[in-house]
């Protein structure tokens, strides 16, 4: 099965090989394990970009292949981050508190340690009790599975409600956006017990690894993110191959017809919605320790729209397109907003990219949707000689950008 699966999808091999070479080169050039040509800050950026690529793969699964434009996947991503963040923060603070209490004459009781941790974490936001949602945070074994369970359950319940009520198309997009907004607003509240606007910070300091330099941890995280991306990519490729994948594409192209043919469309949609939410959550769980801080602004609705845009620019319905889109746009974005792009003097006005990059980005969405619905991935179609046959009549489905012609030939 495996051989034929890879053989049917040569792009997987190509992708894995490129990813391996890329990680190797970065590791060799890094400060932590190599010759120190790449600063740690940039290794972190690359590591984070890999996590973004993974969530883009998830987005491609749900949008490019299943045709559900979810504007909520960055919320799952952030919830995953919050779940790891809680453990990281608790464990790191516990180390400090235990150390501080150990200097006293009387050994500390577990209650005192817990109280000390609470004061440290919530003193900043004016709380003195540990909120109930932190019940599992003291134990990695209890807390880390929540990275999958919480977003998975959230997606399952939301998806079940929405799909059962036959909400689809743009309505579903708006509804997912509303869910994201509600979640963000909820987390913005101090009373939600996740430190409100401040969020969870200092996540880059791993508990028990205080002596390890950030140069080293950044590379470890980078490698882990690369591994995760590879796994996620193969998983996604596996899901979309075979009958299951065909059914997904069927839903995208004509949901009514598929339902009429007797497929449990809602079940398929629910499965893929939950699966991609969990992939997004894992990506988030690895992203935020590299970013160092997570706060509710991370799950503002706009983040999820950006995610859709990465996939659109990279090319929908092609897993590699999603990866390219996410990497390309997010790296380009940080290059432009970093003040590194040279300004363009026009004589009467100087274009500072810090000011104008967003405008350029916005207009490029318009350009991509209008003129290049296949995105950057379309270039690969040319390379691979997948030409759109000269057909007359209607397009295969509502999403012009997807790789329908090739799929139709299979």
């Amino acid at each position: 099965m495996s051989r034929s699966f890879i053989a049917r999808n040569p792009s997987i091999l190509w992708f894995l090989a490129s990813l391996a070479v890329f990680t190797l080169v970065i590791t060799v050039l890094s400060e932590g394990f190599g010759i120190g040509l790449i600063p740690t800050a940039f290794v972190k950026t690359l590591g984070k970009t890999l996590c973004l690529c993974l969530v883009a793969v998830a987005m491609d699964l749900i949008w490019g292949y299943t045709g559900i434009l979810s504007l909520g996947h960055m919320a799952f991503f952030a919830v995953g981050g919050y779940m790891t963040g809680m453990w990281l923060m608790y464990a790191r603070t516990e180390e400090i508190v235990v150390q501080a209490l150990a200097s006293g004459p009387i050994p500390a009781t577990p209650e005192e340690v817990a109280q000390g941790v609470t004061t440290q974490i919530f003193g900043v936001v004016g709380g003195s009790d540990l909120p109930a949602i932190w019940s599992f945070a003291h134990s990695a074994w209890l807390q880390l599975p929540l990275v999958l369970i919480v977003p998975g359950l959230l997606a399952l319940v939301f998806g079940w409600l929405a799909f059962r009520a036959r909400v689809n198309g743009v309505y579903l997009s708006i509804l997912t956006q509303a869910m994201t907004l509600a979640l963000a607003l909820y987390l913005f509240q101090n009373d939600s017990g996740l430190r409100g606007n401040n969020g969870l910070s200092g996540l880059q300091n791993l508990p028990g690894l205080g002596h390890v330099s950030q140069a080293t941890t950044s590379i470890l995280f980078f490698l882990a993110s690369a591994m995760l991306l590879a796994l996620g990519y193969v998983l996604a490729a596996f899901v979309i191959s075979g009958k299951f994948g065909s059914a997904l594409r069927g839903i995208r192209d004509d949901e009514q017809r598929l339902r009429f043919l007797g497929y449990p469309v809602e079940g398929y949609k629910l499965f893929i919605f939950t699966l991609t939410a969990m992939i997004a959550a894992i990506a988030g769980a690895f992203y935020y320790p590299q970013a160092g801080i997570i706060n509710p602004a991370e799950l503002a609705p706009i983040a999820s729209i950006y995610l859709a845009v990465w996939v659109a620019i990279g090319g929908r319905g092609r897993l590699y397109g999603a990866v390219i889109g996410a990497a390309f746009v997010s790296l380009l974005s940080s290059w432009f907003t970093g003040g590194m792009a040279p300004s363009i003097p026009l004589g009467f006005y100087t274009i500072h990219w810090v000011d104008w990059w967003t405008v350029l980005l916005g207009l490029s969405f318009v350009a991509v949707t209008l003129f290049a619905p296949k995105g950057i991935g379309g270039l690969f179609d040319r390379l691979a000689h997948i030409a759109t046959p000269a057909r007359h009549g209607a397009a295969l489905g509502p999403n012009d950008g997807a790789l329908q012609e090739k799929e139709a030939q299979e």
Partner: protein
């Protein structure tokens, strides 16, 4: 209390023979205090000034309170100052002119609001029967702000001679307030209280409520000399703390005290025979502490049983500060009659707020109801059209300084600007994406962030002022509780006007007919001679134009920033979706529901407005599960898919 005693004490001091001083003497003696006055210390000085009986004292105090008193830097003399050219015209306290002085030579005295209040109170005796009604009104304001027993007699004396009927009513009302508070005669007070029955005004409640202030006590038996409001059960929270503060019981042992006590008795790695390692649990610590207690090394701490016994053997009660039972009973009865009314009125006010919020949502969403509801085009840049309208208003106000004219110009101009922008967007982008709704969403989102950033680049990130004309200032107040600002009324009227306009346009005009035709079946409409392209363009322009006008209105009541639009976009979509797509009544119902619901939650949880917004959205998500097509769903073929 302090405020009442102070003038009394001062009066006593000043009453001593040989203490009287002239105004100039006081001014030079107390210069430092007058220059940098504090409410805590300035009282005696003000009283001394009024006590001089100098006719100039009142004028001086008034100038001081109005911040027209200056200190000449060269000699430290006080002058009443008035702006004259680039400098000040000086007038000595006795009324003689002292010429001009440069601004730099005079320190303006700026007493703070607390000091100004004292000055105004001191001026009351001079102005209560002043010939100028404005001054009399100021005296009444001062009494209302700082009522005192000493004002009762002068006020009563001034009622009879009052000619202005409005002022007379105010004086009588103030007399009621002062009487119920300060009159020595209990019957007069009760009568005054009864006069306020059913009066919902804030000042009436403000006068009655202090009579019912209580303090909480613990005692071994109920005292007979207290006016007791309520006897409390012994299990009330904090009861034991009350006993501890009253000195009736020993304090409980806190974990920290326990730990400190243990640390103090740490000997050779053990406390009272309990090894140190065992102290890492609470039970170990308790054991060690008990051992210490038995050896008498630490004072015994109250155990649970002792706490229970102490609580049982004491009574807890709330006592009124007002000792006169007749007065408190009357006040309670009066307030009870007021409270029901107040509750009703608060609900009405909340209803008005909800109505106002709903009209704002409706106004923001009405353009969307056209573009999304009728044409099924997802326009994420709708919010930015609102923003463009608001900025148009701002620019117009920069060019036309008269606020009324500028608003009159800005409204149609905002429509024109956003109409043009909408038409341009429809022609250039949306037209190509009619069959791909999800991609319209993305493309318009791209336009949205581009427009937002362009606005930032042009106007900066700072919020810009958009000021309503003076006739929209203030509020329509039915009483102290039910009030709504005129600007909100204007928005409400505007929303109604647009509803009417929309209905007229769709049902009564050729354009509306064509729009409906194109929406229902473009091909058929085209074969009937309607140009669908033109209709789509016009409809989209119309929706965008209305968004622009909404922008001016929203800018007037809130703020003008580049992020203005994104604040409203999700709510606007919610409004349309909840209400039911394709129907203006639906948008109206949606806005009413969202506005009402949000205010309702705010009322339930007044401390956290954010929670209201969160739960409102959750509610919408759930609502859509049960009515996926909204409140007013289209039926049949028009519903499409």
């Amino acid at each position: 209390m302090f405020r009442l005693l102070l003038p009394l004490a001062v009066a006593l001091c000043l009453g001593l023979p040989g203490f009287a001083q002239t105004l100039p003497e006081i001014l030079s003696l107390e210069r430092a205090k007058i220059e940098k006055p504090s409410r805590q210390t300035i009282g005696p000085v003000i009283d001394a000034i009024t006590a001089t009986g100098d006719p100039a004292a009142a004028a001086l105090l008034r100038a001081w309170g109005d911040r027209h008193l200056g200190l000449r830097k060269s000699d430290g003399a006080f002058f009443v100052i008035a702006p004259e050219g680039a400098g000040w015209a000086l007038t000595a306290p006795d009324g003689t002119s002292a010429g001009l002085a440069a601004k730099a030579d005079v320190t303006e005295l700026k007493p703070n609001a607390g000091v100004r209040e004292l000055i105004a109170a001191a001026l009351v005796q001079f102005t209560l029967s002043d010939p100028d009604p404005a001054n009399r009104a100021r005296a009444l304001d001062a009494i209302a702000k700082s009522p005192a027993a000493s004002q009762l007699e002068p006020l009563r004396a001034a009622i009879a001679g009052e000619t202005d009927p409005a002022l007379k009513t105010r004086k009588e009302r103030l007399d009621t307030f002062l009487t119920l508070q300060f009159d020595p005669d209990s019957a007069a007070r009760i009568a005054a209280i009864q006069r306020l029955e059913g009066d919902t005004a804030l000042d009436a409640r403000g006068a009655l409520n202090p009579l019912l202030l209580t303090t909480r006590h613990a005692a071994t038996a109920l005292p007979s000399d207290e006016n007791i409001a309520a006897i409390l059960p012994a299990d009330l929270p904090g009861a034991y703390d009350l006993l501890v503060t009253a000195g009736l019981a020993p304090a409980r042992l806190t974990p920290k005290d326990q730990k400190d006590a243990l640390a103090a008795h740490l000997r050779d790695g053990a406390v009272a025979g309990v090894p140190l390692a065992d102290l890492a649990t609470q039970s170990g610590r308790d054991k060690a502490y008990e051992a210490l207690e038995q050896s008498g090394a630490v004072p015994p701490a109250a155990t649970d049983a002792e706490v229970a016994a102490a609580l049982k053997s004491h009574v807890f009660y709330d006592a009124y500060r007002e000792k006169d039972k007749g007065v408190t009973d009357a006040a309670r009865a009066a307030l009870a009659s007021i409270d029901t009314k107040v509750g009703l009125m608060t609900a009405t006010d909340l209803g008005l707020d909800a109505l106002s919020l709903a009209s704002i949502y409706f106004l923001a969403a009405i353009g969307l109801a056209i573009t999304f509801g009728v044409m099924r085009v997802i326009n994420m840049a709708h919010g930015e059209f609102i923003m463009m309208g608001a900025y148009t208003g701002y620019v117009v106000q920069q060019l036309i300084p008269n606020y009324t004219i500028s608003i009159v110009v800005a409204l149609p101009l905002a429509f024109a600007v956003t109409f043009a922008a909408g038409v341009a967007m429809e022609r250039l982008v949306i037209r190509h994406l009619y069959k791909r709704p999800l991609e319209t969403l993305l493309a318009t989102f791209g336009i949205s962030i581009a427009l937002q950033q362009i606005a930032k680049n042009i106007f900066g990130t700072q919020a810009r002022p958009l000021t309503a004309p003076a006739w929209l200032d203030g509020q329509l107040a039915f009483n102290d509780i039910i009030a709504i600002s005129y600007i909100r009324i204007a928005i409400f009227v505007l929303a109604l006007a647009f509803l009417a306009f929309f209905l007229w346009l769709m049902k009564r005009t050729r354009l509306g007919l064509e729009v409906r035709a194109v929406t229902q079946n473009p091909t058929m409409a085209a074969s009937m001679g309607i140009d669908p392209d033109r209709i789509n363009m016009l409809t989209f322009g119309l929706g965008s134009g209305i968004a622009g006008i909404a922008g001016v209105a929203i800018g007037l009541f809130a703020k003008v920033t580049s992020e203005l639009g994104s604040d409203y976009i999700v709510q606007s979509f919610m409004t349309v979706v909840v209400g039911g797509v394709g129907n203006i009544w639906g948008a109206l119902a949606g806005a009413a529901m969202i506005g009402g619901f949000q205010k309702g939650i705010e009322w339930l949880n007044p401390a956290n407005t954010l929670a209201a917004q969160t739960y409102m959205i959750l509610f919408i998500i759930l609502f859509i599960q049960f009515r996926p097509r909204g409140i007013i769903a289209l039926k049949g073929r028009a519903a499409g898919d």
